[in-house]
């Protein structure tokens, strides 16, 4: 029952997805921090190293959450169901001869459109409206690197 209520109010499972993504990324950042701590860095230095090597945490989180939401089977099923309702509404409107049948078709179409709109709005993230980074790829040839430690510290030079 609790599961059903959660799915009704949060059909895509957005909160659970966010928690899962954050846990995965936190693990990575903590491992990076520990790795640098073992190289005799202070905790502050180690954390700064981890963040520098990782990149934009918020942007990565938002991208992962967005992709993950698309993958959820319940969300996919709900979207397919809304498409079916929409098509049924159109079918009823075209072939329904009586006025009350026509209204049922109209209602189905409205429910489908509103449902889809609801899912779209819930999936929106402010990050989408942010301008893109000036680099198109996070994977680059590193022609300036001379020592292993300069691999991730080139931005600070």
């Amino acid at each position: 029952m609790r599961d059903l209520t959660r799915k009704l109010f949060d059909p895509i499972g957005g909160k659970a997805i966010e928690r899962e993504v954050e846990e995965e990324l936190r693990f990575h950042l903590e491992m990076l921090t520990e790795q640098h701590l073992q190289q005799a860095a202070t905790p502050v230095e180690a954390r700064a190293f981890a963040l520098r090597r990782f990149g934009d945490v918020e942007q990565v989180t938002n991208q992962c959450v967005e992709i993950s939401k698309r993958m959820r089977p319940f969300a996919r099923a709900l979207k397919s169901f809304l498409i079916l309702i929409f098509l049924a509404g159109i079918f009823v409107r075209i072939f329904g001869t009586e006025l009350h049948v026509d209204r049922v078709g109209q209602m189905l179409i409205t429910v489908a459109v509103m449902g889809r709109l609801f899912l779209y709005v819930r999936g929106l993230k402010p990050a989408r409206f942010r301008p893109k980074s000036d680099t198109t790829s996070h994977l680059m040839l590193n022609s300036t690197a001379k020592t292993p430690t300069s691999l991730f510290e080139a931005d600070n030079l």
């Binding site: 990575h28 090597r53 934009d56 680099t135 790829s137 994977l139 590193n142 690197a145 931005d155």
Partner: protein
């Protein structure tokens, strides 16, 4: 500094991830470490950029994921190659080989 770097082709990161996962299932941090060790300072890779790539690859069915316990007894998400991913890796390797041979040929003749 930005001028000294060259963006690599789209799909290169996916190819590196597919190849890394072809031996073993790994968590994101492990994949990043393995790639850093393998490329030996020739490429600059932001670790964070692996994750959207991993999620996209999972969406396409090339890799699967499950939560497990890491080598230091912490909860971590492990990724493994699927059959579709293995096929994709073979196709991408062949494609990469074709492109690199073509570019090398042009550079030698031009």
């Amino acid at each position: 500094m930005a001028n000294d770097r060259t963006d690599l082709m789209q799909g290169t990161l996916e190819l590196l991830i597919l190849k890394t996962l072809s031996h073993d299932s790994m968590h994101g941090y492990g994949i990043a470490q393995r790639i850093h060790q393998s490329v030996d300072n020739l490429l600059k890779i932001e670790d964070g950029s692996l994750y959207p790539a991993l999620y996209r690859m999972e969406e396409r069915g090339w890799i699967g994921s499950e939560w497990g316990v890491s080598e230091n007894n912490r909860r971590a998400k492990f990724y493994k190659l699927t059959r579709a991913g293995r096929k994709r890796l073979d196709a991408e390797c062949a494609n990469w080989d074709r492109i690199s041979r073509a570019v090398t040929k042009i550079l030698q003749t031009a």
